[in-house]
């Protein structure tokens, strides 16, 4: 056992920190939220510029093989990258393109698809969105009903997607649709790569304003939208099985929860110690001390659970239930932190992201919102617990 980074990994972390200190002014932080903010306040343009800078340094796709523009970086190196980006709340990450679409195209895509998409993702030039969930298919994703009927050289798509993150400004969508109506539900799904910008007909994207008042999710309607046959990813009716690998590509992202949490805890610690910070619970109060101690300990537990997944992946051990454990604990601890943070800042916690009066530049208020979605998105806590119990502990279904 060894609970510390190798000197090389530690040096990489320092390099990254230096870069982030220079590149991300405090008012531009908000990586996790600003990517969802649409075009407001130029957040988008800054995020995309940042993404290109990450790409130029080879960091954006560091986990990819060299032949596709990556660095073959270890899962630990990737985790450090994720952790630092999240800690600094820096925009520019691309979980969808880099973490999900790219690796799947590498695995099952055609040569033409690889040529068209991989370098564009690696250079940070394109935005991908997902078309997975539907109004009637959330946790039971395989029950999706959007259909894609092959007619000649095109798939004709009809149906509706929902919770498509970033679709309102995306260039492409990774779409899962039913291509065979007559087989068990998992066996009739295909994956299509949809060019949203060049699709002129049969496509409507309506942003859903989330409860924090931000654009992020979308409803997407398909009315006889045509997708060229060559945009089928891999084989017909194998889409569900490709999606099974998707979460695995996101494994190094579990570190995000503890990384954001740690920066919030540090900010709160400064606040409660500040004798001039009026209206903030004093660090002398036992309740405050217990809350921050609890949050610190839970943060450590969450980080260790995320690192376990990274470590196993690096050793070539397939995490069966550990990824779900990291997700459930990380997101639920984050929510508890948000509650504690709001209670510590008292009346000021009501003030939304603005310069004056909003503690930690509105971050406390903002995580109070975002923490709600974290325990739902990417497999709700309840679904994760089912996975832990059945796949991890072998309990009967």
């Amino acid at each position: 056992m060894e609970f510390q980074l190798s000197p090389e990994d530690e040096a990489f972390r320092q390099e990254l920190r230096q870069f982030l200190r220079e590149e991300v002014p405090p008012e531009k932080t908000g990586g996790m939220s600003s990517m969802n903010e649409g075009d407001e306040n130029g957040g988008d343009a800054f995020a995309m510029a940042m993404r290109k800078k990450l790409a130029q340094r080879g960091w954006l796709t560091m986990g990819w093989p060299k032949e596709y523009g990556g660095q073959d970086a270890s899962p630990m190196r990737q985790t450090i990258f994720m952790e630092e980006m999240a800690y600094w709340d820096a925009p520019g990450m691309d979980l969808m393109g880099v973490g999900i679409v790219g690796p799947t195209i590498m695995r099952v895509g055609s040569d033409a698809q690889k040529r068209q998409h991989l370098h564009a993702i690696a250079k940070g030039e394109v935005i991908w969105s997902q078309g997975f969930s539907e109004p009637g298919a959330g946790s039971d994703l395989a029950g999706l009903q959007t259909r894609a009927d092959l007619k000649g050289d095109v798939f004709v798509v009809n149906g509706q997607k929902i919770w498509s993150s970033g679709a309102h400004r995306a260039d492409y969508m990774y779409l899962m649709a039913r291509t065979d109506q007559d087989v068990p539900k998992h066996k009739g799904i295909s994956a299509l790569l949809v060019d949203l910008k060049s699709t002129k007909q049969g496509l409507e994207i309506r942003p859903i304003i989330n409860m924090a008042g931000m654009k992020g999710f979308n409803e997407v309607f398909f009315d006889n939208m045509e997708v060229p046959r060559e945009n089928l990813l891999g084989e017909l009716n194998q889409g569900w099985y490709y999606s099974m690998g998707l979460l695995e590509s996101e494994r190094t992202a579990f570190i995000n929860f503890s990384a954001i949490g740690r920066s919030v805890i540090e900010g709160l610690t400064r606040l409660v110690n500040d004798p001039d910070a009026r209206g903030i619970a004093s660090g002398k109060r036992p309740e405050t001390r217990a809350k921050l101690a609890d949050a610190t300990i839970e943060n450590k537990v969450a980080r260790n659970l995320a690192l376990t997944v990274t470590w196993m992946t690096g050793k070539g051990i397939r995490p069966t239930y550990q990824a779900s454990v990291a997700k459930v604990f990380g997101t639920e601890a984050f929510k508890r932190l948000a509650w504690s943070a709001m209670s510590i800042v008292g009346l000021y916690g009501q003030v939304e992201r603005q310069k004056q009066y909003a503690p930690l530049m509105g971050r406390v208020n903002s995580i109070y919102y975002t923490s709600v979605g974290m325990t739902i998105a990417g497999g709700a806590s309840e679904i994760q617990r089912n996975v832990i119990a059945t796949r991890g502990l072998g309990l009967p279904r």
Partner: protein
Amino acid sequence: MDLGLSEEQEMIKTTARDFLEKECPKSLVRDMEEDDKGYSPELWKKMADQQWMGMVIPEQYGGQGFSFLDLAVLIEEHGRALVPGPFFSTAVLCGMPLAEFGTEAQKKEHLPKIANGNEIWVYAQTEPSATWEASGVELKAAAQGDGFVLNGTKLFISYAHVADYLLVAARTKDGGKPEEGITLLCVDAKAPGIAYEGLKTIASDHQSEITFKDVKVSKDSVLGEVDGGWAIIQKIGEWGATGKCAEMVGGAQLVLEMSVEYAKQRVQFGRPIGSFQAIQHHCANMVTDVDGSRYIAYEAIWRVSEGLDASKEVSMAKAWVSDAYRRICALGHQIHGGIGFTKEHDMQLYFRRAKAAELAFGDGDYHRELVAQHLGI
């Protein structure tokens, strides 16, 4: 970063598990709860033959020279098997400070006997003041001639009645800060003036009230410096708290396994109760707590073992694991239903020891406050 056990540690773990499954069945654990001595001298001898007592003692003093991290792997298995007796106190709480802070004469005299199982040592810090803080040490050691005279009471001390030696925290100087003026003394447990009164306690761990009435100890029985005992006590606290964490992780792992197994077997409404999501989610929460406990415990153990500054991590681990083990037992009980509430069932053995381990070397509240101090709040 390496979160796995080494090959050697895997071997320690497997060997210990096999040995204890054979030599320390639950029937023995139950017998020892009622036994006068509270431990089995036969098992003690066999454990010594496994060279467990001397595992971390340097080879020149008859030990094996393993690290504290290696020992923690063994202790985890003790927690799983609920090994009764003074092993933890002898090997961890006394053996380790003797090896690190003892004089050459003390080490030569005692370490080989600890290693071969011939000396039982018990650490005596707590008193009726019932706190782990320095202010709690009130037992007086007054300088007299070439030594000290002890007067006072130690309380909550496990297996003291079978000890050969007591490692006693005593107050040698008043005034000043509570941390100053404390001295650790190696005391012959059978010395005149020492009396033991047994307590019936939740973990059946044979605790005693020990009264010291004009007990004479020589000057060369001091461990470390006169009036300088608190630094050693803090170190013992780190070994003790993290060692207890390893023990709790071992117990928690077994409670999880026992509960999952029961959920698979127990049929109600025509199906195994483990097929109900209410039960599945209990199990999922248990394994989350077990895994979370394991890594935060071993991170602290690793730091202690490597000699790094560990006090914050130790408090984080002890606070977390103490509470997690209690939660794990609570869910295990819920899954087992009525049968788990019986004396016949093994759940109660773990439930009771979980509480004692939680209290040992500071509970969650105690260590959370220390964490807050470390944060600089």
